[in-house]
Amino acid sequence: MGNKLRNSPRAYIVRLELADRPGELLRVLEPISSSGGNLLSIFHERGDITPRGKIPVEIDLECSPDQFESILSTYSDLDIHVTQSGEELYEGELIVLLIGDAISNNLSSVIASIDASGSVAVIESSVNRSIESPTEASSILRLAIKEGDQKQAIDSVRSIVSGYGLHFMTTTDNGVSQ
């Protein structure tokens, strides 16, 4: 990882405990969007209730350190219980290109499945459609590796997207030769 500008955007992780009532999740996400942060993924485990009857939630987001401070202070004003927070130590980044029909009709579901794997988070996506046949499209995803090494992340993403019938490729610098 190269040098970062002091206030440049970076990945953060926030673990929270929410009361089990309607509108709670929205209340937690609102400060992120109003501060200009970029939401990467949310894990909301309704089945995994804490001894105090709360629901644990993990949020991955991208924002500047200043924005992150402001999000945390809003949470404290709103009495939202933050159990853990900090800059996420990503293992690295991965760029993948996907080709196939599922890009035009199912991309959000593809991205959700990749995020739900827990090993990577989708930071950015772009799509290009075929002019000749509109169902055909391709997408480039920029992924942050959260767990395990690059090879494991590649294998995990490859197996998820092949379930959608998508062709998968990644960059050569993930290869064996240094």
Partner: protein, 260 residues
């Protein structure tokens, strides 16, 4: 087609020092090339090979025949045309080479380069390539990654003293690459190349994203090979990977090495 009416056996009865075996590549049994090489080596002649089949499919058998012969088997022309890939690996010692990666098929590289440059579809550029004689009427050997895989299998065999054949390679071709995918890659400063990788663990051939500014992003029918070494970093060798003259120059390189 054979020239003249003498039988093949008569050729081996004649007075010669080196057999140059340049019959078309055949897979699995790699015949008739395999028997030709065997006949020459068993009578202590040298063999210079341009046919990929025998060293990709029956490397260990050939090695043991060569070990029992006063003749030497060389096969520079089987990988990378005029680029001295195998001689370079030999010179720097295969034991110190960790992996070899490259663009080893001019036909598929021509197709990908032109699709990206002119925003043309795969089938359109393939038919152009066939008209130009850059692609065969049945293009699967090139665009399906088989030719690249054979060359990588040969390299893996050289690195580990045998043990690999085509059926061990993981191979994916370029038939499903679309111009919208190439366009999208282009916007991120990337392009798509059919990359072959050979290590002691095995062979992998697949289309990959390559930064446009990298050496690996060679254009047209050019080939490139990157040899990763334990102590010398990565060595890049680029040049024409196929055709009559490049293949002949590789054969002459082997002949020269036999004289020395």
């Amino acid at each position: 087609m054979p020239l003249g009416d003498a039988s093949l056996e008569d050729v081996f009865e004649s007075n010669y020092d080196v057999l140059i075996e340049a019959t078309p590549t055949t897979l699995k049994s790699a015949e008739p090339a395999f028997s030709h090489i065997k006949m020459a080596l068993e009578t202590d002649r040298h063999v210079v090979l341009a046919n990929k089949g025998p060293v990709a499919e029956r490397f260990e058998e050939l090695q043991s025949i060569a070990d029992g012969s006063k003749g030497t088997l060389r096969f520079e022309a089987t990988v990378g045309g005029a680029i001295p890939v195998l001689s370079t690996i030999e010179d720097i010692n295969p034991k110190t080479v960790t992996s070899v990666k490259g663009i080893l098929n001019g036909t598929s590289n021509f197709i990908l380069t032109r699709m990206a440059a002119k925003n043309l579809s795969y089938s359109h550029v393939l038919s152009e390539a066939q008209e130009l004689g850059v692609a065969e009427a049945d293009p699967i050997f090139d665009v399906g990654g088989i030719d690249t895989a054979l060359k990588c299998v040969i390299i893996s065999n050289v690195l580990s003293g045998g043990g690999f054949r085509l059926s061990d390679a993981e191979v994916e071709g370029i038939q499903h690459i679309s111009n919208h995918a190439l366009n999208l890659a282009d916007k991120s400063g990337l392009t798509i190349r059919l990359v072959g990788e050979a290590t002691r663990e095995g062979v992998n051939v697949a289309p990959m994203l390559v930064p446009k500014t990298e050496d690996l992003a060679v254009e047209g029918t050019q080939n490139i090979v990157q040899i990763a070494t334990e102590h010398g970093g990565i060595l890049s060798l680029a040049g024409p990977g196929a055709g009559g003259d490049p293949t002949a120059s590789a054969i002459f390189l082997d002949l020269q090495r036999l004289i020395v």
